[in-house]
């Protein structure tokens, strides 16, 4: 058995990772309806209704105005901040016909071409990206 971990200390460390939103219970709660909306796009008939009228489809879900605007704008970094989880949000970009590489590159601040070139060259190095406080 390991000793019990202090949940506050455990969670606090996640805020120290640059450019990363860990899907904590707090985010899971904040994003509950957002993620369930995204999940609904796993059904072909829902995808058709969503494509026909996105705004009307969103009316059926209890999203905040910020979440609603970010979904319509496909602002994935904002959606992560508002409680979205990437595996749920994947249903939105899959419905748009985007691959993971295409969608993920939009969060990285790089063009798709530059992002792909970075990956082929071995990916983004963890050097300097492990901790916010250790950088300063």
């Amino acid at each position: 058995m390991t000793s019990t971990t202090d949940i506050h200390a455990y969670l606090a460390e996640f805020d120290d990772i640059p450019g990363t939103r860990v899907f904590t219970a707090k985010r899971a709660r904040q994003g509950y309806h957002l993620n369930q909306f995204a999940m609904s796009l796993m059904k072909a008939e829902n995808r058709e209704r969503w494509k026909a009228d996105e705004a009307a489809y969103l009316d059926e879900w209890k999203l905040t105005p910020e979440q609603r605007a970010a979904v319509l704008a496909r602002d994935y970094n904002r959606l992560l901040d508002l409680g979205g989880n990437i595996y749920f949000l994947a249903k939105v970009f899959s419905t748009d016909g985007l691959s993971f590489v295409q969608a993920v590159s939009t969060m990285s601040g790089m063009s798709l071409q530059d992002y792909q070139a970075m990956m082929i060259a071995g990916g983004r190095s963890p050097e300097g990206l492990r901790s916010i406080k250790d950088k300063h």
């Binding site: 899971a28 590489v101 990956m119 990916g123 190095s125």
Partner: protein
């Protein structure tokens, strides 16, 4: 008696499934990723496992936010490939092994693991892509599969130590099943990758290879890696590697490596793959 004869670990990158489904495995970009599985495909054809206990995570397919089980075991007769947003993969139905699965569930619960029991669900790329990588494109999968789902999406996921201990409990359960079965256990997901935020695309080949080193032999140091280290060093989705520790824990005190493969990138991810046997 049933026995665990080998452990296999592999990334379960959706794009590998797409590349296989669209016959792109010979293309320059994909060929090096697939080449590392050629040895394993031949070896699996010789090994002919009766059952694979396949440790994987559901990616918001069978489980949505309504129910989030930490450890869940599939006790059903069969599982259909899930529609993840672009239609289900055209791969064979996954046949379960309800007798062994229920046996493991009961044994683990008495062994103080609070398993969630699943009788009906669809299985997503987390489970079907490893089957493709190990078996190619057969008419039917050549073995029964027991899905063992681990939550690595909503925090906190189980600790590496707990995953290792679950593997040990599964090994005890399998060893007490009276039927003569050749059982393999697979750990899937990983290695380093981050699919979200400005740090997306993070890869740490050095760390990944140290992790692969640690799976061989009799050290249990990997079970003590904290979540924060996976997150910092291997990206937000690198946490999936705790599922490899269920596999490693099930192999007992010491292991020997039969095959090892590592390649960057496939889509956004480092491809890691290793075949181990207990010694």
């Amino acid at each position: 008696m049933a026995r665990i004869t080998a452990g296999v670990a592999s990334s379960h990158i959706p794009a590998l499934g797409v590349a296989s489904d669209l016959n792109k495995t010979e293309e320059a970009y994909w060929a090096p990723a697939f080449a590392g599985y050629d040895w394993t495909k031949r070896w699996e054809a010789e090994q002919k496992p009766d059952v694979v206990i396949l440790v994987y995570n559901d990616h918001a397919s069978a489980f949505d936010m309504k129910i989030i089980p930490t450890f869940a075991i599939g006790c059903g007769e069969s599982y259909q490939p899930a529609d993840e947003g672009w239609g289900p993969r055209k791969v064979p139905v996954v046949e379960g092994h309800p007798d062994l699965a229920w046996h493991i569930a009961q044994s683990c619960i008495l062994d103080e693991f609070d398993m969630t029991i699943i009788n009906e669900m669809d299985v997503d790329h987390g489970l079907t892509v490893p089957l493709t990588m190990m078996f190619g494109k057969p008419e039917a999968w050549p073995c029964k599969v027991i899905p063992l789902a681990v939550n690595v999406v909503t925090y906190p996921p189980p600790s590496g130590n707990r995953c290792w201990a679950l593997g040990e409990a599964i090994a005890r359960a399998v060893a007490s099943f009276p039927e003569d079965l050749n059982v393999q256990i697979w750990g899937t997901g990983g290695m380093s990758h981050q699919l979200q935020g400005p740090r997306a695309g993070l890869i740490n080949a050095e760390w990944d290879n140290r992790f692969l080193d640690g799976l061989e032999g009799d050290s249990d140091a990997l079970r003590h890696i904290p979540h924060i280290e996976y997150l910092r060093e291997t990206g937000s989705e690198g946490i999936e590697m705790v599922m490899w520790l269920v596999m490693r824990g099930a192999l007992g005190k010491a292991t020997r490596t039969l095959h090892r493969h590592y390649h960057v990138p496939a889509s956004n991810t480092a491809v890691g793959h290793i075949v181990l046997e207990p010694v």
